[in-house]
């Protein structure tokens, strides 16, 4: 499910963070404001701290030791998790599915978006309209037939099954087409005058210029693949990625929440690292593209 604010990316990046409407205010008001901001921040951070804390408590410790700082912290849960072959598989599956899915998405959607933005051809409007219509259709109606289709293809419980339906998504085409439309055509025309083919022009002129948009799409696509839950839960059994694996873990270890929390932490850590590294950039991307998870 996705949509776009009808604004160019460059324009959005140039938006200065400026404070509006507040002059100097009394000391008490400001203290209250900061107090509020910190309390809200605590609401968002505390559960993560609790999860990490729980993951360091082994077995029954989680029920006997209520402290946020574990009395006897240890990596037993993590060691137990990674000693299980299937957990290592989940992690590996997530890594493969997310990176391959992101790369292929960028490749095929940028090609398609470029044609829709720059070349005129018969039935273009109709084909693009067809893509856009599916953007507003709820994902729920595709679950059963996609499951059936994957089964008929003999791909149930395989890695391709986790990637393929995601690759068919149209958001990337829509998003990149908007970006290409905003680029000046003159450079590409110059390349054409010099005898470059469409493909050559695309690779050596348009694609490099689309760097920022591609990066945005890459981050969003990676997060979407890494975090995807419902589809993997439907289609995987032994070959799950992490979020779906967590469900199996929870069912198997209901009485051992420390272990489950360690699993959740492992699923969260790569994303949190990515977020820490690219925080400003990710926030900007989401604000400008308006994508809901």
């Amino acid at each position: 499910m996705a949509s776009t604010l009808d604004r160019g990316l460059e324009k959005d990046q140039a938006v200065e963070l400026r404070a509006v409407g507040t002059g100097r205010r009394g000391g008490v008001g400001r203290i209250l404001l900061y107090l509020l901001l910190f309390l809200i921040a605590a609401f968002f951070v505390l559960p993560l701290v609790v999860v990490v804390s729980a993951s360091f408590k082994y077995s029954a410790e989680i029920f006997t030791d209520p402290g946020i700082l574990p009395a006897d912290p240890g990596f037993e849960n993590y060691a137990a998790l990674f000693a299980r072959a299937e957990f290592v598989d989940w992690f590996r599956n997530s890594a493969i599915v997310s990176s391959v899915g992101t790369f292929v998405t960028l490749a095929i959607t940028s090609l398609s978006a470029y044609a829709f933005a720059r070349i005129d051809f018969p039935f273009k409007g109709m084909l693009f309209g067809l893509l856009i219509v599916t953007l507003v259709l709820p994902g729920v109606m595709f679950l059963v037939p996609q499951f059936k289709l994957i089964g008929e293809m003999g791909l149930y419980d395989t890695l391709p099954a986790l990637v393929l339906p995601g690759l068919a998504g149209v958001f990337g085409v829509f998003f990149l087409r908007q970006f290409f439309l905003g680029l000046p055509v003159e450079l590409e025309e110059a390349a054409y005058v010099d005898g470059a083919s469409r493909l050559r022009t695309f690779f050596s002129i348009a694609l490099p210029l689309a760097g920022p948009a591609l990066a945005t799409l890459a981050v969003i696509t990676f997060l979407a693949f890494w975090n995807d839950y419902l589809w993997p839960v439907i289609i995987c059994q032994d070959n799950c990625p992490l979020p779906a694996g967590l469900r199996l873990l929870q069912r198997q270890y209901t009485g051992d929440p420390g272990l489950v929390m360690a699993g959740a932490a492992v699923a969260a850590i790569p994303v949190l690292i990515l977020y820490l590294a690219l925080q400003r950039y990710i926030v900007q991307s989401v604000a400008s593209s308006g994508i809901k998870g």
């Binding site: 509006v20 505390l46 005129d120 679950l143 967590l246 699993g263």
Partner: protein
Amino acid sequence: MTSIATAEPKPGRGGRGGMLSRLMWGSGRDRRRRIGENPITPYLFILPHFALFSVFILFPFFLGVWMSLHDSTALRDGPFVGVRWYQQLFDPSNRTQFPRFWNSVWNTVLFVIISTPLLIGFGLALATLLNQKVRGRNIFRAIYFVPWTLSVSVVALTWWWMFNGNAGFVTLFMSDTFGWSPNWLATNPWAWISILVATLWWTIGFNTIILLAGMQAISADLYEAASIDGANKWQQFKSITLPSLRPILLLVITLQVIASFQLVGQPQLMTGGGPPSEAGGETTSVLLHVFNVGFSGRRELSLGAAMALVVAAIMVVVSIINFRLFSSERS
């Protein structure tokens, strides 16, 4: 192909073509065709994605309808049964499908009705706070947004533990402070409140960021002029901020309603759809019900497909109403 291509209309800047021509040619910017270019080229550009799209989205669209008219499970392909599943879903005298399905629809609708104003309201409030002259605004903004980057299963398990009846943080905190704590995940309304809190935690940050970006795009001159005219903060918020945010609010509300309608991971992992009731679970959302019917137990794919189509139809109608409601008013 070639003959159609040469019949292409000229690129005139202004009044070109009606509906039909726009459908044929789209409305791209550069429509200068290159002499001698192979007319197949653009189709090759779109081919890789369009092939995947056709197989995994376009075809399943029709396959879903087809399946909903048959009696198939994951194990066998059944015979054509016409609209039998739809009849069962819409027949009040049916004792199994009807109450279970509409129970889950009603649960979901209630969740959407209650969660949307909260998610939008808190989003607006946080965006307004962050739009003040505060130090470290970017840090606060980044912190509020963290949960959105997590998978729903991580979010649901986090709160499954927070609300755990034995040693969950919230349970212990309540017991220590008030000497009593509800059995959060197993009794209502607490189970719903748990799901609501988890959802708020997960997605408020998203709404905040989008709304904040919208607020920062509003010209400061408007606020200056208003304060010269003696308008107070609340009046400024009401007559400048809100009207200027209108298109963005519409977007955020629409996305939020659609997202809330697809609630599934939270009840699945936190409450298991319970506490149990005659109609199959007090926190069973419609997507969870589709999952339970189509992908677990007997895996009744056909019934699941029919329910999914009814749900999709409801969602499309709700989106249209929502759009009409918010875009016509004072536009």
